[in-house]
């Protein structure tokens, strides 16, 4: 849907005199070229290590994708960067701990025929809780500001983020919330001595159908059509009989549900969570959404995969690699580079499924 009516977006620097367009293009290629050389160099340097780190990056990217989609859905429809989204995700992870470990008593000792249905129950609980939470946030904090200047809801979103974080700390305390390994951890195969576990594969296998279902929903259903219409023009949609408030609420519910699912997958993978989880992870997912082209569903998934891979490469590879303590710097540098050279994101032009 739609779109950008109007002129195609041009990179920021294009606003400067014409020669800067050339500089822009050259710099873009230099950055991309260096990145490719670095990736290929690392592959040649240690191929086995590269493959196992790559697989890890795919798993991380899958979790980021579910969170990034929540950012992008909301941005697509009301052009708001919902900073509270990372904290909705944190709440998803907390609810997953409470329901799976504390209420249902899962601790990894049960057989899969017990674990699988109970995990599904946990998933439903996370989705229901986070979906409702996100709708409530929209109703209370964003809807009253829908016609206010852009900065107002943005600041409200940051405030919401702090409120959710502190509420998390109030309920769960300031310490880690550990869960036992509930997902199966048996190694599927080993590359250079490093095990690739069933758990890692499971994360990817759960993420893919969720993404496909989401794309189907936005592209091919009546509700999806309404979402795209509202994103394109709220007033015109209203004239066509679309209930705009309901459609926006539905979008928030969808984003919250995704965050709930991501929270569950994250905590099952990582086996612990804490009240401030949403901060770093939310920012990574936001970067992924911008990298892919904010508002673009496929772009968010693609951007998240890239961010997951870049994080894993940065921490796990050894040839000219900054290392773990630089991950944040690397990822936020990417955010800045994308905003400078390609503000529409990598897939920004593919507007067909913008919600």
């Amino acid at each position: 849907m739609t779109a950008e009516s109007g002129t195609a977006r041009r990179p920021m620097l294009a606003a400067l005199p014409r020669f800067s367009q050339q500089i822009n293009r050259v710099l873009t290629w230099v950055v991309v070229g260096l990145f490719v050389v670095w990736v290929v160099g690392n592959f040649i340097n240690a191929p086995k290590q590269f493959v196992s780190v790559f697989l890890l990056g795919v798993t991380l990217g899958s979790i980021y994708a579910l969170v990034a989609l929540g950012y992008t859905l909301v941005y697509g429809i009301i052009e708001l960067i919902n900073f509270a989204h990372g904290d909705v995700f944190m709440w998803g992870s907390m609810i997953a701990v409470t329901v799976s470990a504390h209420w249902l008593g899962l601790d990894g000792s049960q057989g899969w025929y017990v674990t699988a249905p109970l995990i599904f129950v946990t998933l439903l609980a996370c989705i229901a809780f986070c979906g409702t939470l996100n709708v409530a946030i929209e109703r209370l904090a964003y809807r009253p500001l829908r016609n206010a200047p852009k900065l107002a809801p943005l600041i409200t979103a940051i405030g919401m983020s702090f409120i959710l974080q502190n509420a998390g700390a109030l309920v769960y305390g300031f310490i880690e919330q550990p869960v036992p390994d509930i997902f199966p951890t048996k190694p599927l195969f080993r590359i250079g001595g490093i095990a690739y576990t069933q758990k890692s594969l499971l994360i990817v296998l759960i993420t893919i159908p969720v993404l496909l279902a989401l794309v189907y929903l936005v592209r091919s259903t009546r509700q999806g059509k309404a979402m795209r219409a509202v994103a394109q023009d709220m007033d015109a949609s209203r004239m066509m009989g679309i209930d705009v408030d309901r459609t926006i609420a539905f979008t928030f519910a969808l984003g919250g549900a995704l965050a709930g699912a991501a929270g569950l997958l994250f905590v099952m993978y990582q086996t612990s969570t804490r009240y401030d989880l949403g901060f770093q992870l939310g920012l990574f997912a936001f970067t992924a959404a911008v990298l892919g082209g904010i508002g673009n569903l496929t772009g968010a998934a693609f951007g998240a995969l890239l961010i997951g891979l870049i994080q894993a490469f940065n921490e796990g590879l050894s040839w000219h690699t900054p290392g773990s303590s630089w991950t944040q710097s690397v990822i936020f540098s990417i955010l800045i580079l994308v905003l400078v050279f390609r503000p529409q994101g990598l897939l920004g032009e593919a507007v067909s499924d913008r919600a």
């Binding site: 109007g6 240690a46 960067i81 490093i194 770093q280 904010i294 796990g316 944040q328």
Partner: protein
């Protein structure tokens, strides 16, 4: 109609970069000026700060404060430390020589941080400095907090407030290090007023390295959290390990933010095939995850050994890391509570009888020893701050909770004992007690 991300995104990016920077800056600088009041009255005036609890024995003339992080993962430990201090004062009849004393525990942490907080540390120090009744402070628990408090208390008027730490292990607080202006920046007046009863990290690093050598470790990879304490103890470990012939494959920093997954990091390390991993950091910096991911990638701790400094030597590590904690080695300054003899054993027994703790934490007897040092210094003094500070140095403490020891002119104890614990069946148990030989203990001239 719709515009793709332009200015709004820029504003957003700027906001979040600033937010991240703010969140990352975990306090290291402060500028403080101690200001002071007049002499002491009859009953001590309580410190005017919301972080301080009520005064115990409020009729005492001279006020001793304690400054410990009472929130977060160390609260089990610090609560006991306050109880230990109170018990020592009570057993002394709230008297030090001809002076009567009062005790006021203060908190240098915030619930949000779950650990010490730089703003709170500075504010506390200024509050003590401004209360003329405060004669001495027992604290801090964390070296980073002591770095902020020591100069403020040193410049207090009239005269520096004596500070005795039961737990600070950063060497620079009393002696030269590779860091510029240590230790002189902690006593701006030129006269020292800070002492401690635990051996510093230049003993702890070698103790871990000696343990590693004893376990047949030939190569090690070191991770550090970039903070003064974590990176410092990692460096002391590295230097000692090299002297002991252990190959150091690397010493790099790790991301301490919640939610970080370390499997990629350990996959990179796995390619170097280390026999052991050493981490200079704290359990509250996502340490549980770090241990879990170490085990997930490199295998359990009997295969690739794991060595941790006292930032991890707490039951919280077992809770956070779960099964992955099994077999890790963690050091702590001093002698374990169950190996104390004489007055120390009596103290532990009395403490258990009085407070019925589930177990006595390692620093609890050290808090008692710090209280004994303070009592001794007040007893030998003329009741003024300057005199109490002066009497810390060269103090001979006989028959204390820790046996007999003395405080040298720098403010360090002559006891260099270190304990290395091992995690067994979900509990930290003593693996060995050792005193590193002087050739492994790195020292640098004062600056």
């Amino acid at each position: 109609m719709r515009r793709v991300p332009g200015r709004a995104l820029w504003v957003t990016a700027a906001v979040l970069v600033l937010a991240t920077a703010a969140a990352c800056g975990s306090g290291s600088s402060s500028d403080n000026n101690g200001t002071g009041g007049g002499g002491g009255g009859n009953a001590a005036t309580p410190v005017n700060s919301s972080t301080c609890k009520s005064v115990v024995n409020p009729d005492g003339q001279l006020l001793v404060t304690s400054d410990l992080p009472l929130n977060g993962s160390s609260s089990h430990q610090t609560t006991q430390m306050n109880q230990a201090i109170e018990m020592v004062f009570e057993q002394a009849g709230w008297k030090a020589g001809k002076y009567t004393i009062a005790f006021q525990p203060c908190d240098d942490s915030t619930p949000q941080a779950g650990t010490w907080d730089s703003t709170t540390c500075s504010a506390n120090a200024n509050a003590y400095a401004q209360d003329p009744s405060v004669i001495a402070n027992i604290g801090t628990f964390n070296s980073g907090c002591a770095e902020l408090e020591a100069p403020v208390l040193n410049q207090a008027q009239p005269g520096p407030i004596a500070m005795v730490s039961p737990a600070n292990t950063w060497p620079g607080l009393t002696q030269g290090t590779k860091v510029a202006a240590e230790p002189s920046k902690y006593f701006p007046t030129g006269t020292r007023s800070y002492a401690r009863v635990v051996a510093p990290d230049n003993f702890q690093g070698p103790a871990l390295a000696l343990t590693a050598q004893g376990l047949g470790v030939k190569s090690v990879y070191i991770l550090n959290d970039k903070q003064a304490y974590g990176a410092g103890v990692a460096q002391y470990f590295e230097d000692a390990a090299k002297k002991l012939g252990i190959q150091v494959l690397g010493n790099s920093a790790y991301n301490t933010k919640t939610g970080t997954n370390y499997q990629a990091l350990f996959q990179g390390i796995a390619a170097k095939h280390p026999d052991a991993i050493m981490v200079g950091g704290l359990i509250c910096e996502n340490g549980g995850q770090l241990i879990k991911d170490k085990v997930a990638v490199l295998g359990d701790n009997s295969k690739v050994k794991l060595f941790l400094p006292d930032g991890f030597t707490t039951s919280q590590t077992i809770t956070d890391a779960g099964k992955a904690s099994e077999g890790l080695y963690a050091s702590v300054a001093g002698v374990p509570t169950d190996q104390l003899t004489g007055a120390g054993a009596t103290f532990v027994q009395d403490f258990q009888d009085k407070y019925h703790p589930d177990f006595v934490d390692p620093y609890t007897p050290y808090a008692a020893a710090a209280a004994q040092v303070v009592l001794k210094a007040i007893e030998a003094s003329d009741g003024t701050r300057a005199s109490v500070s002066k009497n810390l140095f060269g103090a001979q403490i006989t028959d204390s909770v820790l046996g007999s020891f003395s405080i040298n002119d720098a403010g360090d104890t002559d006891q260099g004992s270190m304990t290395v614990d091992v995690a067994k069946n979900g509990k930290l148990v003593t693996y060995k007690v050792l005193t590193p030989p002087s050739n492994l203990v790195e020292t640098f001239p004062d600056q």
